[in-house]
Amino acid sequence: MLKTKENTALKVVIYVVCIFLAILSILPFWIMIVNATRSTTEIQQQAVTLIPSSYMMNNLKILTGKSFDPITGFLNSLTVSIGATALAVYFSSLTAYAQVAYNWRFKKQFFSFIMAIMMIPAQVTMIGFYQMVYKVGLTNNLSMLILPAIASPSMVFFMRQYLQPTLPMSIVESARIDGAKEFMIFNRIVLPIMKPAIATQAIFSFVASWNNLFTPLILLTNSDKYTMPVMVSLLRGDIYKTEFGSIYLGLTLTVLPLIIVYLLLSKYIIAGVALGGVKG
């Protein structure tokens, strides 16, 4: 009986904490969306409120009037984020698999090398990045925002740590006996096993890529190539009049697709969680 009581008390604590944190998570989104419906003047006079106003269409007009093209921005952002995320998770998994499944001469050194370059702060590596991109004339090319994702050392590390204890080599071996090619084994057998890890890392990568402002801001000078955050940042560029209403609307439009993608992937996470529970 004591045990049940204790359980109930703990559950109450858990729910109270979780609900509190959940509110803390939703509130900024709510305020942002509400502010997207309010006029700049209203926002300047009372920044935070929970009650929407009626200026959304007006804000949208200001937005689109300022060379803000949500469709183009959305497509560019989507290309970059999906491309970078797909490459990052695929090649990180592949590299991790090479670590776990094969016995090759420089394997250990290579892993030490990955750990070492994980420590290189990206700020250092990016200093000369622009120079190189410029030299080959790819400044307005979205691929320059995508391809570097192939080498994501911390993701490789994560994938390896995940794969090492969970990969049943017996399955790999029996697939080999059935005549499957190595590459096929990776695609058909190993990748599905890695689903929980992939889903988690995919979300991290997608969010980071989608919200990344400064790289695109510097690489892209052609307005046809702008991503959503770049477009929103241009709205703030006017120092004499800051249209807060339309900025909030822009920020909302930027984050909406992200929320949708996140919710889709998060379903996968919850499913993956169940998968992780039964494996072993």
Partner: protein, 453 residues
Amino acid sequence: MKKKIVAASLCAAMMATTLTGCGGGNGGSAGGTSNPDVINLWAFTDEVPTMINKYVEEHPDFPYEVKATIIGTTDGAYQPALDQALAGGGKDAPDIYCVEAAFALKYTQGDASQYAMPYKDLGIDIDAKLDEAQIAQYTVDIGSNTDGDVVGLGFQATGGAFIYRRSIAKEVFGTDDPEVIKEKIGPGTDKFFEAAEALKQKGYAIISGDGDLWHPIENSSDNGWVVDGKLNIDPKREEFIDMSMKLKENGYHNDTQDWTDAWFADMKGVGDKQVFGFFGPAWLINYTLAPNCGGSTVGEGTYGDWAVCESPIGFFWGGTWLLAGKNADEEKQKAIADILEWVTLDTSEEGLQYRWANGTLYGEGGTKDVVASATVMEKSDGAVEFLGGQNMFDVFIAANENANGKNLTPFDESINTYWRNQVREYTAGNKTREQAIADFKTQVADNLDVIVE
């Protein structure tokens, strides 16, 4: 992720230099000349691109397509990108580019001045035109390179005035006549503080925060922040720290910071104390005071309760200059010259400035703004409902003449921020005056290539 952001910003920092190394070769392969059909326009807001589109629209036979690149000045994004494009040359090089007051000097006289083509080399008869249009002298000073040739001019003039509440003026000074109020609050800071005391007796604040006073003080100093590569604290600017303290200790202001909610609230008259006025150019009236006054017709909020008079200290605040790049061929130069002339020097009723001043560029009833040419303003109607029907041009023509364009440096944006932050630390009681000035010097030495003694 955080690190990516830093990284990228650093990469921006690097690009101007890295590019120059490879830019030559790249420019060569691109042919070294600019694209024959396109005029590249770089701006930090959509204001100039929109007006130039209007020009193209009205000139159907204009043979070039104007391709605008707009990059916000937020987070320092505009300058590195522009620098890179200028240094890179070739077909994507800017043919017309806009610079803002805060960094104009870098492009007209400083490190990046070699990319700007003098107006006279474009075939503009600059001296005669300047004379005819009576362009505000400070804009010419800022727009001239070290050889004295004009390389940049604006359409707008941003000479500053004092913008005050009529109702408060009547109550405290017995009249709202700009000619009288001008004498009450100035000239000079002593009279300004006398007025502040008089206003305080009736429960009013003379200004909203010390930032309002900073622009006049900054602009009235004899020398800029940097003289011969060394930090120079002009006595007038140093005095600001004491004035700021005086304002705070005596409750002469609401202690707000510009561009914050509390500052905007004072425009509506709903702050701690009612605020008498703001220092600012015409754009402050149009884009800041009017939208924040709490109404849109006389009687609502503070709409219509405002007037402008000459500032006790002459100053200017902000502004856009248009510069021309050197990459165009002769034919395109002609087209560029036509655009620049239309925007910055044309005084006819078809010119941009006349229509800008009267608010008719995009149809009747638009926002009236102060322009660079006094000639245009003299023949325009600057009566504004927001100012109780006052013709603001009378005041602003004088304000533009009183502004001083000779004490600027390319470091102003950074140094002003350091200075005002330290002043705020001092007035908030967090440190002594000496400490604040010492910390200010350290910050300049640490962050800039300026010698501090």
